[in-house]
Symmetry: D2
Subunit: 308 residues, 4 copies
Amino acid sequence: MGAEMPRLEGIFPPIPTPFDADGEIDLPALAGNLGWWSRFDLAGIVVLGSNGEAVLLDEAEKLGLVEAARAGTPEDRAVIVGTGLQSTRATIALTRAAADAGADFALVLPPSYYEGQMTDVALGRHFRTVADASPIPLVLYNVPACTGIDLSAELIVDLAGHGNIVGLKESSGDVVKLGRIRGEAGERIRLFAGSADFLLPALTVGAVGGVLALANVAPEACVEIHRRFAEGDVDGAREIQVRMIPANIAVTRRWGVPGLKAAMEMLGLRGGPVRPPLLPLGEEQRRALRSILIEARILDPEKEATVR
Amino acid sequence: MGAEMPRLEGIFPPIPTPFDADGEIDLPALAGNLGWWSRFDLAGIVVLGSNGEAVLLDEAEKLGLVEAARAGTPEDRAVIVGTGLQSTRATIALTRAAADAGADFALVLPPSYYEGQMTDVALGRHFRTVADASPIPLVLYNVPACTGIDLSAELIVDLAGHGNIVGLKESSGDVVKLGRIRGEAGERIRLFAGSADFLLPALTVGAVGGVLALANVAPEACVEIHRRFAEGDVDGAREIQVRMIPANIAVTRRWGVPGLKAAMEMLGLRGGPVRPPLLPLGEEQRRALRSILIEARILDPEKEATVR
Amino acid sequence: MGAEMPRLEGIFPPIPTPFDADGEIDLPALAGNLGWWSRFDLAGIVVLGSNGEAVLLDEAEKLGLVEAARAGTPEDRAVIVGTGLQSTRATIALTRAAADAGADFALVLPPSYYEGQMTDVALGRHFRTVADASPIPLVLYNVPACTGIDLSAELIVDLAGHGNIVGLKESSGDVVKLGRIRGEAGERIRLFAGSADFLLPALTVGAVGGVLALANVAPEACVEIHRRFAEGDVDGAREIQVRMIPANIAVTRRWGVPGLKAAMEMLGLRGGPVRPPLLPLGEEQRRALRSILIEARILDPEKEATVR
Amino acid sequence: MGAEMPRLEGIFPPIPTPFDADGEIDLPALAGNLGWWSRFDLAGIVVLGSNGEAVLLDEAEKLGLVEAARAGTPEDRAVIVGTGLQSTRATIALTRAAADAGADFALVLPPSYYEGQMTDVALGRHFRTVADASPIPLVLYNVPACTGIDLSAELIVDLAGHGNIVGLKESSGDVVKLGRIRGEAGERIRLFAGSADFLLPALTVGAVGGVLALANVAPEACVEIHRRFAEGDVDGAREIQVRMIPANIAVTRRWGVPGLKAAMEMLGLRGGPVRPPLLPLGEEQRRALRSILIEARILDPEKEATVR
């Protein structure tokens, strides 16, 4: 972290990890992708999130990615790094190592394996212990579709009082929860939509941006929703928001990371294969995805795979 | 229905059914409540919804309520009546009887007892059969918390093509679904937020109003969120929206109809007891509710129980 | 109820309601079915259960069915009648009317529409109020697949202390719950498996029989599992139990009442059409069902549709 | 693995990992525990299961535990080792390392982070790839409470055809599923109850034993249920089964690993602290646990903490 911390506000793509044909990390491909994202008015990037296949990487791979991501991202943009693991002590160790490797913020999901024991008390103690030990500020990461745990509004409001917990990525789509947190915690915690399909609704109840898989392939549209909303043009924002929903579903809950990587390849970005147990999209799925991207005006059939 | 159908747009309270001390319907109390609601800029009312304890009433009680509700509501405001039952033929019979009794629209929830068999095909056939047979237009009613069934976006878009299906009350809070329907069905179906805690987010993705339990006790605030949004004052709308969330939760998912009726009594409206198996609020719950209403500025402690 | 109450133990089919081509109740068909079931060592029947399409019948139809069922069932066999409705007072009224019409026991499911308010306290008060007012003993009916509510072991143990609550039909398949209730309530409440696919496991933890959709079409196999278990022949019981699972799934969670009625017709019993919103099985489903029944040795392809 | 593989049948405790006061693995404590378990007629042990806090250990710790467990367990008893991780390649690497360290069988849970993408096809490919690459046979591990994924009967039957997939630990309590698998896969896969509270019901539908947290503290009772069932004494087995349910719930779903470790300490075994985010039991919980253990006759208040 330099003298000035990059702003935690705006649109962040949670970037995929490109693999080569042997399934190993492809850093040159990453550098190319980062260069493309740098052209848009993004606030930064998230490395080692769900879309980064973080749970399929070993620790050395993770730290190498953080360094490369930091090196390939403009100084004034934030690099947020996913560091949540099942044990408190391993989470602290990875958070410190990520900070050393250049992370500005740590994105921390709740430990979930012992779900039945993960009461608000247990989760609260975990997050506070990590926040106390972390050299960089924490962004909470609520992603029930992956963890099976839905952080409660009460817990989040409570954690918002910790000086080193500064944000929340809320991927559940629960805008009522966002509104409650905003009402009770005010500006003490920065709220981010965790998926592009509810970005505009989230902004209306107090979110300051989004961490959006779709922003990897449609950065301009995502930024534009945010910009128009800020300018008071809700009708204009809605037109883009509604148009983006099918594309967002395609690269998130429907086809997941394999869908997102396939979309990147169609655009000329480098995704590469996914790591098993994830499976690549089949031919029919790829055709359906392509139609959806064209319909959303993310992919221009005239210029396919030439964005770079 | 007169020469001109009342507009299906704006804020509708789904009104509770007031009972007297013996547990029988109290029509004078209803008339008093209707008079109060008439003073606000509401678009109409919903009778025999979940908040009307419809499932706890017999058929004669239901039709008596519809007549009284129609009589006590200004001509130019819509009276929407809940008519969904488990069997298709019973739903048709009640819908016709409700129309005869003065209903402008029928609010129809999905049959849910045989949940495992209620595929989109089965539900689609049910709703179309009812719509074909109904003398009044249908508003679909999605309320998974009560039915255990969540109508899919695909089904709703498909049903939007039926000439006698004109609206959707969506109570799930799923704003992504609302956005998808708006994107795929356009203006062919009018979308309503089914709960006040996501009214503003719903409006941003295309809803034209709300059917809101909270509008029974806070009609002005609900109307104001809608009005400010329409005027482009999203910041002003958000302030009210965020302030209303705790009160809305109190009279919906937390304390349900007993909570709503207790709130009405605190304001000077007439709710009366709930019918078993519903239980009245205990003393401690009533105190908590009162604080929440005061905090939300719905109840003025200086003028308690004197709104009429 | 005569001087002596029929025994509450053994195998009960929850019988379907046969309809004629016009969708009206077909009492002669019912009489024929009852005659066939009388030939087997069944303990009685259940009328107006989930398989009886009770939620799709009106009150007059219901009481007519009870009378016909009682008339067509041997005196020493129990007629259990489903009487659970959403309101406490309507449940009491129907229970009394069913008793007058000849019911020996009332099978009462929990009110479920206001699921969020149906705490153990509310449910306990409902069941106790009904039990106090009922002239016949109650059998609790736990069927989360239809009601969305799973009665807790604590509540059931508590209700087992009421003198007029004598049994439980547990359809969830949760044998741990059955074991807990057996451990804590002992013989104060008679436990019944609510589906044939876990009859044998349920017997091992203390159930005294089953209320089994499959017993409509495979009474002998169901009775035999019970008999062999009682005689200590667990291996023999297991062979039948395992063989019955696919057939049971076919006529319950997979194809529901439409599947059960189709199976009855294949055997020569009279099911007739289902009432909408239920849909009849398609041709392909019927073929698959037929194979499953043959595989389970329920249907003999040589003698199809000639059981009577 | 020696010339003869230990039998995969009977009762296995999934052993906790004892930690010292600093939170580090306490191998002498483990050796003491293993010595105690050796006195009972157990079929072997499971290391690195859910109760072993496997997700809270690093790889070196894991392999050290396998070696110590193998060294402290009689030669003719199986050591089953949990090796399932999120990525296929990491699972293979750990399985191989565990085999080198002395594991007889690998217990493999499904990758679950990308739950939405974990179709039967994806999971089938994962398990087959691991089974192909593993030098030791695999036991599938279905534990939806931890993973959020419930392996389907169809998938398990399909995998039962792989020569190197030999068993299933089913922790869901779904005895219908066990019966279906038994009916369709016969003896091709050995079925184990994954929790003591449904051991007896599972045995009746074809299970050959159990992997039971409760067997850590009540090995004799668990073995006795199995033995009595095998001898045809179902009534005797039921008495123990029913008595064990509350104790089993206490050390599994209610208080989890912290509860199990507390129970071990009460008995004189060595559990030590749990690793955060798990929290130790509070004083009140410990008192309640103690009563439950005494009630189940697991703990003799006269001889407390002196079992060794």
